[in-house]
Symmetry: C2
Subunit: 405 residues, 2 copies
């Protein structure tokens, strides 16, 4: 049992779990309970102990022998955009080539066009609905990237929408500036990179905590990525990198050497780069919904990371082109089925290590005294049943900062 | 617009869909509506027309620009059993061999042991919960097979539980006798086959509408399957066959030649057998959750069936060993991503053609006058968005026989 300065009373005790997974310790506490006051976790322990310590607690939530654990942290999303692309998905599945899809108005540039054309209110309303859907699926903290503007006006519009979502939605939101998502089709490459590394950083430094670069063939080279990350670090941003999704350009090594918080995707990465990530403590963010949605057989191999002690996080990558799934539960199933994670590892990857990937581990991702009461109850008995009963929403209750949603 | 003897009033009109998919016609009716009386679909058409025809209708359900379609028909499940096997799943994923899993008490025989040991009440309670979960995910009719008893006492217990589920649960249930699931480990093979084709048929003829055989190496040979199906047909059962899941033993051809209602699985099947199925009108039931859950790359190719005009149905195969998913929405996503179905075809496969696979197309599977008002509303605008937003539950309302669940 753990406690911070034990108060005389608490607001809420969640009791009678099948297991309480705090993520602070390995394994679950059978029949475990958690006491909450002012939106903060006060204490975890056995149901009978917490009921004895805090008699007369006004709200007792009976978990009914279901699993209780921290809410999911979705640490990599592109949640703000206009224009869904399910038609493009169907074209691709019927064998349309990349060029045919581009010609028919598909691809990332179609999202850029739609996002530029959309009003801030439209983007905000769609963002609120998407966050609601994520909350219903057990997510309590969401990272959101810009990057469908690719010009000052629209990147600003996106980041203002992210700021408003953060202020207005119950979920916590972390903002990432991803002007370096791709080169806009109408702009000179060098000019765009200079803008990204120059005045754009001043414009957006108050809006985003993280700076991210898509380092990939067709997007930004390793040299450009290094140039951009250095400028962003100078400007006070924490760093993230899209690394090794399709080709190993060395971006994971660069992320490690520059002290990036995370390197994301990582389907294609060398052992040497892994060793450097381990040394630097870079979090590996795996996004298995992308190969699934694109019917690729190349998933990131989580065992290579875990063997080296690299923290592994899971995220949806929620975006209209390569993974439009709201569900961290689905990512857990894919992580277990195709990335080599055990169920217990996958749950930690979806909570505590995902919080590390957005530098939020001091406030969420585990049920420890002093952290936010971000708690979910799921209609399963044990971690293994989460991937087992795949493809649906097993969450029966979501609590965010002590408030039941 | 279609109508049966138009009544003076109706009980309920569901209005303002993004599209109404009746499944009776191809394509959706934008803004379509459906009128319901006494649990039966009376008429479908445009919202403004139905509101004009039936003024003063006491219940108007606003679909809020969401998709309205028939409830899902899950036409192949093994829903009644005791003992979940998520531990075995984790062993398998960590590389345990089939023999190691058997030695540790896993495999189908572990489910048989647990089901024999469970009381009818325990099986019933678990069955009710599972049907509730399916209903929440939009399923309104479920086929359930016996086959974890493999002795008279337990097969009877299972079929009595199925009968009680059918009587007590809001969902409709179709019962299938699957004593021919595998050979029980303690029994002489020939003796078991004789019992199956003999006295067992009399015992169970009042309990099940369908008789099913698992024709596969390690289960029943083609000759045994033929012998069993002939006896079952004589005894008045309609026929189903598990065919070509791992090996092509010719069971699909046999199913076609014997007038079986469906042949199920069909990963491995010859063109000749397909032609015979087309001629006979045998429904092809595809179960893509199984290769997904077993991480097999061999999915059934729906295009081979559709090209020949064979009705294609989707089902979960819900069972503890090879696919514990409650979600027809997940099967639709897998059918689109890995079996070559278009989204529109997948929705038909999950409704009207699934109803055909259990001989229920006269009462459910489409929104046509005279059929049951089995209707779901989903938080999407178009069929393509169902697989697109994969991995979660998009159903916002389920109506069964005119009653909102």
């Amino acid at each position: 049992m753990t406690a911070i300065d034990r108060p005389t009373h608490v607001d809420t005790i969640i009791v009678n779990s099948s297991q309480l997974l705090t993520m602070a310790e390995s394994g679950g506490v059978p029949g475990g309970a958690v006491a909450v006051k002012d939106g903060i976790v006060i204490e975890t322990g056995r149901t009978e102990d917490l009921l004895r310590i805090y008699p007369g607690c006004p709200e007792i939530i009976d978990a009914g022998n279901q699993l209780v654990m921290p809410g999911f942290v979705d640490c990599h999303t592109h949640l703000v955009f206009a224009g869904e692309r399910s038609g493009e998905m169907e074209m691709r599945l019927r064998g349309a080539s990349y060029l045919e899809i581009l010609k028919s108005g598909g691809g990332i540039h179609s999202t850029v066009r739609a996002t530029r054309a959309a009003s801030a209110d439209e983007l905000f309303d769609a963002g609120m609905e998407r966050l609601d859907r994520m909350a219903r699926n057990g997510t309590t903290t969401v990272e959101i990237k810009s990057g469908y503007g690719l010009d000052e006006e629209t990147e600003l519009k996106m980041l203002e929408v992210v700021r408003k979502l953060s202020a207005d939605h119950t979920l916590d939101v972390a903002a990432t500036y991803l002007g370096a998502h791709t080169i806009p089709s109408e702009t000179d490459r060098n000019e765009y990179v200079r803008w990204l590394a120059g005045s754009s950083l001043e414009t957006f430094s108050g809006y985003a905590e993280f700076f991210d670069v898509f380092c990939e063939e067709g997007a930004f080279s390793l040299e450009e990525t290094e140039f951009l990350l250095e400028a962003a670090a100078q400007a006070g941003f924490k760093l993230k990198v899209h690394a090794g999704q399709f080709n190993d350009l060395g971006a994971a090594r660069l992320a490690a050497s520059m002290g990036a918080v995370s390197a994301d995707h990582l389907e294609n990465i060398s052992d040497d780069d892994l060793d450097l990530m381990a040394k630097a403590g870079t979090v590996a963010v795996l996004l298995p919904g992308v190969p699934f949605f694109l019917q690729s057989s190349i998933y990131p191999n989580a065992r290579r990371f875990i063997e080296r002690g690299i923290p592994v996080a899971l995220a949806t990558d929620f975006n209209p082109g390569s993974c439009p799934s709201y569900s961290m539960q689905m990512m857990i199933a894919l992580g277990v089925f195709f990335c080599g994670l055990t169920a217990a590892e996958a749950l930690k990857a979806a909570t505590l290590d995902a919080a590390k990937a957005i530098d939020r581990e001091s406030e969420t991702g585990s049920l420890e005294p002093g952290k936010k009461a971000d708690i979910i109850i799921l209609d399963v008995k044990s971690p293994g049943e989460l991937p087992y009963y795949f493809g649906t929403n097993l969450v029966t209750k979501t609590m965010k900062g002590g408030i039941l949603l």
